[in-house]
C-alpha cells in the first residue's frame, strides 16, 4: 500500500483501444515498477482512476488478474473525468487507487458451467472474470457468453468477441436491438432477455453472472428464474457513485451495505435482502 490511502499510483497509458465512438480501453502500467510488482487484485475489484486536475472516477478493473504487469480499464465518455481521460494519449499519466471491494467467488465456481450475460457498457466489469475463467479454462465446464448492445457500433471488445466466437470451448451469442443491425450482421437481433430465453441454457450445475442496465436486469431475471436458476447462483456487480472507495465518504451504501466494502459483487439472493437503492 502507498503511504497515503488517498495517493493514487501513477500509471502510464501503454495502449488505447477505441471500442466505440465514445468508449475507450486503456492499458495501464505502473510508472514505479516496484509498485507494479507488489500490486495484486482479484476479478471483480474496482479502482478510482484519475486525471490530476479533473478528479476521480470509479470503474472495475477490466483485465484479468491472470494477465500480469498491467491493468486495463474501459470507460464511456460521459462526465468531466471520463472526458478528460478520453483526451489523453499513449504515454500520458493516469492516477489509479485500488484495488477495492470484494471479488467474484470464482474458486467456488470450479467444476460448474458459467453463463455470462451482459448488456452494453456492462461487459467491461465482467470482462475481468470472463478472461479469468478462460485463462483457467480446464477448471470450468461449459462457458456461455450472451452479450447485447443497442447497435453493432455499440458492441465493445469487438476483436475479443471475434476471438471468443471462434473458440470451440466458448459459446458466444451476440445480439443487437432491432434496428441496430448492419447489413452484414451475423448475430442475433433482439433484446437480451428474449435471446436468452431462445438460447435456453441449462441451469443445472450452472452459475449465471449478469450485468447490464436496470431495464435489462428487470426483464432478464424472470427468464433466469424460468430456466431454473436459484437466487444464490446468480451474481451481479453493482455500481453506485463513490468518492473514497473504502467505506468513509458515505454515498454508495444500499441500506446498511456499502457497495465499495461489501460489494461490488453480490448474489441475487443478497440483493433481494437489500432495499432498492442502486
Amino acid at each position: 500500500m502507498s503511504d497515503s490511502i488517498y495517493r493514487p499510483y501513477l500509471m502510464e497509458i501503454e495502449q488505447i483501444v477505441e471500442e466505440t465512438p465514445d468508449v475507450r480501453t486503456f492499458r495501464l502500467k505502473f510508472r514505479n515498477s516496484e509498485e507494479g510488482e507488489q500490486f495484486t487484485f482479484k476479478a471483480g475489484q474496482f479502482g478510482e482512476y484519475s486525471v490530476l486536475g479533473e478528479g476521480e472516477s470509479t470503474f472495475c478493473v477490466a483485465s484479468s488478474p491472470t494477465r500480469k504487469g498491467y491493468i486495463e480499464c474501459t470507460f464511456r465518455k460521459a462526465g468531466r473525468v471520463t472526458n478528460a481521460l478520453a483526451n489523453l494519449e499513449i504515454g500520458d499519466t493516469v492516477g489509479f487507487r485500488g484495488p477495492y471491494g470484494n471479488t467474484f467467488p470464482i474458486e467456488q465456481w470450479e467444476g460448474k458451467n458459467l453463463l455470462y450475460i451482459a448488456g452494453g457498457i456492462a461487459l467491461p466489469p465482467m470482462r475481468c472474470v470472463i478472461w479469468n475463467s478462460l485463462d483457467l479454462r480446464e477448471k470450468f465446464k461449459d462457458i456461455t457468453i450472451v452479450y447485447g448492445a443497442r447497435s453493432v457500433s455499440d458492441l465493445v471488445y469487438k476483436h475479443e468477441l471475434k476471438e471468443w466466437g471462434e473458440r470451440a470451448d466458448v459459446k458466444l451469442i451476440t445480439t443487437v436491438d432491432p434496428g441496430g443491425q448492419t447489413p452484414d450482421w451475423k448475430g442475433e437481433i433482439g433484446f437480451v432477455p428474449m435471446i436468452l430465453e431462445k438460447a435456453a441454457p441449462s441451469s443445472v450445475n450452472t452459475v449465471a453472472i449478469l450485468c447490464g442496465p436496470p431495464v435489462m436486469i428487470k426483464f432478464t431475471m424472470p427468464v433466469l428464474k424460468k430456466l431454473g436458476f436459484q437466487d444464490k447462483d446468480i451474481f451481479t456487480t453493482l455500481e453506485n457513485r463513490m468518492k473514497c472507495g473504502f467505506g468513509k465518504c458515505g454515498r454508495c451504501n444500499v441500506g446498511k451495505v456499502f457497495v465499495c466494502k461489501d460489494g461490488p459483487v453480490f448474489s441475487y439472493e443478497q440483493l433481494l435482502s437489500l432495499p432498492g437503492e442502486y
Binding site: I5, R7, L52, G53, G95, G250, N253, K256, P275
Partner: protein
C-alpha cells in the same frame, strides 16, 4: 486508567489555559456580539465563554476540517508528481470547553474514519488532540443527549472533564493518560476535592434510541419518511452543523500545472450526492435522502460501526431553516 477528581479554582483555569497554549494550539468557544458561539483557534482566555449551551457549529472541524488537502500534484507534459503531506506537521491541539455531546462525537467520527482502513489524517489529528470537556450546567429544548445514551456530564471523549461547582470553582475529572500528564505538569493548579456539589443541568429523555433502532429495522418502506420530509428543502445545514456527520466529497483544484486534491464536507441531503453520471439516482427524492440520514445514524451505524451516529446535541433541529425537529420525529417514529 481510573478516573480521579480534583478541584480547580476559577482563577486557576486561566493559568491552565495559558500553560496549555504555550505548547499547543487551543480551539475554544467564543461568544460574538451577535451571541453566535464560534470555536476559534487561540482566542485569549478572556474571550472564551463558559456559559454557552451549544456552539453554532460543532467543533468537529478540529478533527475533520471543512476542507482538508489530501495531496499536491504537478502536471508536466506526460509526467506528474504527487507530493503527500507531512502529517507530522499537524500541531498538538487542545479542544477546550467541549460539551459532553461534542466530546462523545469524537468516538463516533473515529468509528467511521478508522473503520477497518484507518484514515491517516483523522488518526493523526486525533493522536495530537487533548480534549478539556465541560459539563453542561444549562440546556434548552433542543438538547436530547439523554435520548442517545449520553448525559450532560458524560465523560466519553474528554481527557479532563470540568464541571462547575456551586461556588463557581470547577471539579476536574482526570480521565486519560493524556489528562493525567497535564495535571502532573501543573500540580499547583489542582487541589483535593472538597465535597462541594457540581451543577449539572437536567435533560429530559425524548425517545429511547434502542427502540428507534429496533423500529428502523422494519420501517424502510413506511410512509413516515415522505410525510416527515415534505418540508425538507435539502439545504444540508443539518449535516454541516452535526458533530458526527462524516460524509465528504473529493475534488481537484488546479492553477496552471500545480494543484491539490482535497476533501470537503458533503451532505446526504443533496440530490447530487448519489447522482450517477448516467442520470440515474438511487436516492432521487428528498424523502429517500431524509430516510438515509436517520437510517445511517440510528440503524446502519449501530450495526456496522458499533456506534450510534447521534449524540443529541440538537444543532440539526435548532439550525434547521424549516424547523424539522429530529428528536420529535424519532419520538414519533418509535411508536409508529
Amino acid at each position: 486508567m481510573e478516573a480521579t477528581r480534583k478541584l480547580i479554582r476559577r482563577q486557576s483555569l486561566e493559568k491552565l489555559y495559558n500553560a496549555l497554549s504555550e505548547t499547543r494550539k487551543i480551539y475554544a468557544p467564543v461568544m460574538a456580539e451577535d451571541k453566535q458561539i464560534t470555536y476559534c483557534y487561540n482566542p485569549s482566555f478572556a474571550e472564551v465563554t463558559f456559559d454557552h449551551i451549544r456552539s453554532t457549529m460543532s467543533p468537529k472541524n478540529v478533527l475533520f476540517p471543512k476542507v482538508e488537502n489530501l495531496f499536491y500534484y504537478t502536471n508536466e507534459k506526460t509526467e506528474s508528481v504527487i507530493s503527500v503531506l507531512d502529517l507530522n506537521k499537524i500541531p498538538e491541539v487542545v479542544l477546550w470547553g467541549a460539551h459532553p455531546c461534542d466530546a462523545a462525537a469524537i468516538d463516533v467520527l473515529r468509528s467511521i474514519f478508522c473503520w477497518e482502513i484507518k484514515d491517516e489524517f483523522f488518526a493523526k489529528r486525533l493522536e495530537k488532540l487533548v480534549v478539556i470537556g465541560l459539563s453542561c450546567h444549562q440546556s434548552d429544548e433542543y438538547c436530547f443527549c439523554t435520548s442517545t445514551g449520553l448525559a450532560p456530564d458524560s465523560k466519553n471523549g474528554s481527557d479532563i472533564l470540568l464541571s462547575r461547582l456551586q461556588g463557581g470553582d470547577y471539579q476536574a475529572e482526570i480521565l486519560t493518560e493524556k489528562g493525567q500528564s497535564i495535571v502532573d505538569s501543573l500540580p499547583d493548579l489542582f487541589e483535593p476535592v472538597t465535597g462541594e456539589q457540581v451543577v449539572i443541568t437536567e435533560v429530559k429523555q425524548k425517545f429511547d434510541h434502542r427502540k428507534v433502532t429496533e423500529k428502523l429495522a422494519t420501517s424502510f418502506e413506511h410512509p413516515f419518511w415522505v410525510s416527515n420530509s415534505l418540508r425538507c428543502i435539502g439545504c444540508g445545514a443539518c449535516a454541516y452543523l452535526c458533530p458526527t456527520c462524516a460524509c465528504f466529497d473529493i475534488q481537484d483544484e488546479t492553477a496552471g500545472r500545480k494543484g491539490r486534491r482535497y476533501r470537503s464536507w458533503d451532505s446526504c441531503g443533496f440530490g447530487l450526492f448519489t447522482l450517477h453520471t448516467s442520470g440515474h439516482n438511487p436516492r432521487s427524492v428528498q424523502s429517500q435522502r431524509w430516510r438515509q440520514r436517520i437510517m445511517h445514524k440510528f440503524s446502519y451505524m449501530p450495526e456496522r460501526n458499533e456506534s450510534l451516529g447521534c449524540v443529541g446535541c440538537g444543532r440539526c433541529s435548532s439550525g434547521c431553516p424549516v424547523d424539522m425537529n429530529i428528536a420529535e420525529q424519532l419520538a414519533a417514529l418509535q411508536n409508529i
